[in-house]
């Protein structure tokens, strides 16, 4: 697998480590209630197909990335800096 880091270009997947679904960027407010926090911390979809994930380019530039990945083919789609994704959410 190769991942196109927006800063470093296309790199071997061994330079990256995987965090989990990009849902982690959508932190609920403190008073959001038990259900919202339960979903945020524990409950995940398990799609056969495209999903959005957080990857860390730890052996490269040190960026957190939001990457689209197809869980069936392991094909990567759009890869963005998590910083930009987070700013766009604000």
């Amino acid at each position: 697998m190769r991942i196109a880091c927006p800063l470093c270009g296309e790199r071997d997947s061994r330079e990256f480590s995987y965090k989990g679904h990009a849902l982690a960027l959508e932190r609920p407010s403190e008073d959001a209630g038990f259900g919202a926090w339960d979903d945020y911390l524990h409950n995940r979809e398990n799609p056969a197909g495209w999903t959005r994930e957080l990857w860390f380019h730890d052996f490269g530039c040190g960026s957190w990335l939001v990457a689209e990945r197809n869980t069936v083919t392991h094909e990567f789609g759009k890869v963005e800096l998590a910083e930009n994704v987070k700013e766009a959410m604000a």
Binding site: L7, C8, G9, R11, D12, R14, E15, D58, F59, G60, C61, G62, S63, L81
Partner: protein, 182 residues
């Protein structure tokens, strides 16, 4: 006061010459990590130009002015090598002296690229990694910085605490490439 004797990170381990590749320790230089504060990138670039005659490097680039180099060193950071950072940069960037933190090696020779190919997943072809190109990447499970200095010369920087491991891994790869060639 006690006079302490400075030792370079790879003291006693280098130089090595095996087959078509040679590995030596680069001279010790002053190293300052320059990390622009949020929103101060443009102001820092101006100050760098004025104080050092250096352009802020884009990802994967090196900027050179005389003996001083500014090497892209990851997201939002570059390493100033071979000179003291001007205090005029201080309002716009975090400046951290890292002179003692890195071991700087130089791998060169006709076989150098084949040695690197055994250790890093980086694309080392001329089109992908021309002169002056730099990358943060993996060198045999260690996070390193590789910069192309000349046609057959690459600078490899690893954490000082892992200098012996870095030299060992490079030596094993050099021996492997030499054995293949004979």
């Amino acid at each position: 006061m006690t006079e302490l004797k400075a030792l370079s990170p790879a003291a006693g381990l280098l130089p090595l010459e095996i087959g078509g590749a040679a590995l030596r320790e680069d001279e010790m230089r002053q190293l300052t990590l320059v990390a622009p504060f949020k929103g101060k990138e443009a102001a820092l670039a101006k100050a760098l130009e004025a104080a050092h005659g250096l352009r802020w490097p884009e990802a994967g680039e090196t900027s050179v002015s005389g003996a001083v180099r500014l090497v892209w060193f990851g997201r939002g950071a570059a390493l100033l090598m071979g000179g003291e950072a001007s205090s005029k940069l201080a309002p716009y960037a975090a400046l951290t002296d890292q002179s003692d933190a890195w071991s700087c090696l130089v791998l060169e020779g006709a076989g150098a690229r084949d040695v690197l190919a055994r250790l890093t997943p980086l694309d080392m072809r001329d089109v992908a990694f021309p002169m002056g190109a730099t990358a943060r990447t993996e060198v045999f499970h260690m996070a390193c910085s590789i910069t192309r200095l000349a046609a057959e010369s690459w600078q490899i920087m690893g954490f000082r605490s892992m200098a012996k491991t870095l030299v060992h891994d490079l030596q094993v790869a050099m021996e492997g490439v030499a054995a293949r060639a004979s």
